[in-house]
């Protein structure tokens, strides 16, 4: 999978974030400050405005770096630098490769997750986006070991990320704004874990669509 998939993924990301803007705002209003959907929507809208300027012979890493720098300079809040670093590290992991195989996809996801941890210092169970990213990385790694193809690897990651987002509901938060709430955060899904699951699902969906076009 190459630049077409990555740009499709990015476009699809912008679409799902915009569609789920209100849902993410609502989740964040419950245990945060009510801006998460607005923040990401502002970021991905800015990404879309820049995507067409990407030079024709760009590789996946170039597109990921564009997302990274744009999110960092437009999102703000906690999610801006965290997701920005995720894409930045993902771009670094895939380097100048024009085509990404299963191993490269796993490296991309792993680097993204590690980027978030590097900046945010959260662990699984802290009720943050890490609760989506880490299971996704684990599932992708397992799928690769089982010899699955790129689409299957991303689908496994997306399934795990969605389960991970759901798994944040009963938790007390230890990072981010929800941590101020103590026990009152219980019963609410972490907005960042939800948006990350949406982004990873977008990766899987666009990979499957590209595949079927190619096939």
């Amino acid at each position: 999978m190459g630049i077409t998939w990555v740009t499709d993924w990015i476009r699809q990301s912008a679409r799902v974030i915009s569609e789920h803007r209100v849902e993410l705002i609502t989740l964040d209003r419950e245990i945060g400050d009510g801006d998460h959907g607005e923040n990401l929507d502002r970021g991905f809208t800015a990404v879309m405005a820049k995507l067409d300027d990407l030079p024709p012979n760009s590789v996946p890493g170039d597109a990921l770096k564009l997302v990274a720098t744009t999110l960092i300079s437009t999102v703000g809040g906690a999610s801006g630098p965290l997701l920005g670093t995720a894409y930045l590290k993902a771009a670094g992991a895939v380097g100048k490769e024009p085509e990404l195989d299963g191993a490269a996809i796993v490296a991309l996801l792993t680097a993204a997750r590690d980027g978030v941890v590097l900046r945010g210092k959260a662990e699984v169970g802290d009720k943050t986006m890490i609760d989506s990213w880490s299971p996704a990385v684990d599932a992708a790694t397992a799928a690769l070991a089982e010899g699955k193809n790129e689409v299957q690897i991303l689908q496994a990651a997306a399934d795990a990320a969605e389960a991970g987002a759901e798994s944040t509901e009963p938790l007390i938060a230890r990072k981010g704004r929800a941590s101020y709430l103590g026990e009152r955060a219980i019963g609410h899904r972490d907005p960042g874990s939800q948006s990350s699951a949406l982004l990873i699902r977008a990766a899987a969906d666009t990979a499957a669509a590209d595949e079927s076009v190619v096939a």
Binding site: D33, S73, G76, G77, A78, K175, S179, Y180, R184
Partner: protein, 333 residues
């Protein structure tokens, strides 16, 4: 949602345009990206002070830019920390060769975005220090959490560090005094109503007619506890107890007592709160030698108040008294 605004997306940009129109003698406003700089910046040889964070807390921080306080303020969108770009631009704009201090309220977003900006500024050869303000006793502090929030105490840090920088203290000294103020400041806030973030369009939380939130932040985050409305005196007693326990304020101490309104609470109520808070401190043998009352660190139109106590010594008192000339805090000139 009922507000005196135009497009919710333009709230911060239009408000800073208003700040420019009203206080053009004190500040210069930049729009793309948005930041507010002291009219006479950069001042050669003076440590530059930059603060910032989400909008919706006015007059924090833009109202504190000027002589004896901040050199620049960087407002993000409502309740959303600014990105590194305007922080970097502001840092460059106020660097007078003596280094720049970032005063950052302890929220993950603020910390991370200022961190990135500081890295980029360092790469450009500007020496940057950061002081994280975390005065909110409502939040349990621990290595394993995001830690305490930075709330109303930020004004005191900005004022006192600003005075030190104005009189020529170097970056180490300004950083040290800002750190000291933060260490000696404790705040607790409560809310009677929730704010409505313009782009969200609905109140951040819902309170019944007889409920209040204790231990509220300044971003419409719900507090730690919800209780039935009580008389003001009982609420003040509840607010002061954890403040006085947390920092061992002792009989004989001198303090600055700061009663801050959350934006929608009228001054008449803040004075009722002040009266009781001063009474309780007097009962404990603590002397209130400096005071501040008003809406300084707000949360849009939220009704509520916070009480901040800062333990003073001669150094801090002198720096507090030093002249300041900003839109929201002014004396001595």
């Amino acid at each position: 949602m009922k507000k005196l605004i135009n497009d919710p997306k333009n709230v911060v940009a239009e408000a800073v345009a208003g700040i420019s129109a009203a206080h053009g003698d004190l500040v210069t406003v930049f729009y793309d990206p948005i930041y507010i700089v002291r009219k006479d910046a950069p001042i050669s040889g003076k440590v530059g002070l930059v603060s910032g964070g989400g909008g919706g807390h006015e007059p924090l921080h833009g109202g504190f830019v000027g002589f004896g306080m901040l050199d620049a303020a960087v407002p993000g969108p409502i309740f959303t920390s600014p990105t590194p770009d305007p922080i970097l631009a502001a840092t460059k704009a106020v660097d007078g060769g003596a280094g720049v201090l970032h005063i950052v309220k302890n929220y993950t977003g603020d910390v991370l975005n200022f961190e990135t900006a500081a890295d980029l500024a360092s790469a450009d050869g500007i020496e940057v220090r950061t002081v994280i303000v975390d005065d909110d006793v409502a939040v349990k502090d621990s290595l394993y959490t995001a830690g305490r929030r930075g709330v109303a105490g930020t004004v005191l840090v900005e004022k006192i560090a600003g005075a030190a920088a104005e009189r020529g203290a170097d970056l180490d000294a300004v950083t040290a005094v800002a750190t000291k103020v933060n260490a000696q400041t404790r705040t607790l806030g409560i809310a009677l109503t929730a704010p409505t973030v313009p782009h969200a369009g609905e109140p951040s939380f819902t309170l019944a007619d007889d409920e209040i939130e204790i231990g509220i932040g300044i971003h419409g985050e719900p507090g730690r506890e919800r209780i039935k409305l009580e008389p003001a005196d009982a609420i003040v007693d509840r607010m002061l107890a954890p403040i006085l326990e947390d920092l061992p304020f002792a009989s004989g101490d001198s303090v600055l007592l700061f009663v801050n309104g959350m934006g929608g609470t009228p001054l008449v109520e803040l004075y009722i709160v002040f009266r009781r808070a001063a009474e309780v401190l007097a009962e404990q043998g603590i002397t209130v030698t400096r005071t501040l009352v008003g809406n300084f660190v707000t949360s849009l139109e939220m009704q509520g108040a916070s009480i901040t106590v800062l333990k003073l010594d001669d150094e801090l008192t002198e720096l507090w008294d030093a002249p300041v000339q900003t839109a929201a805090l002014r004396w001595g000139r």
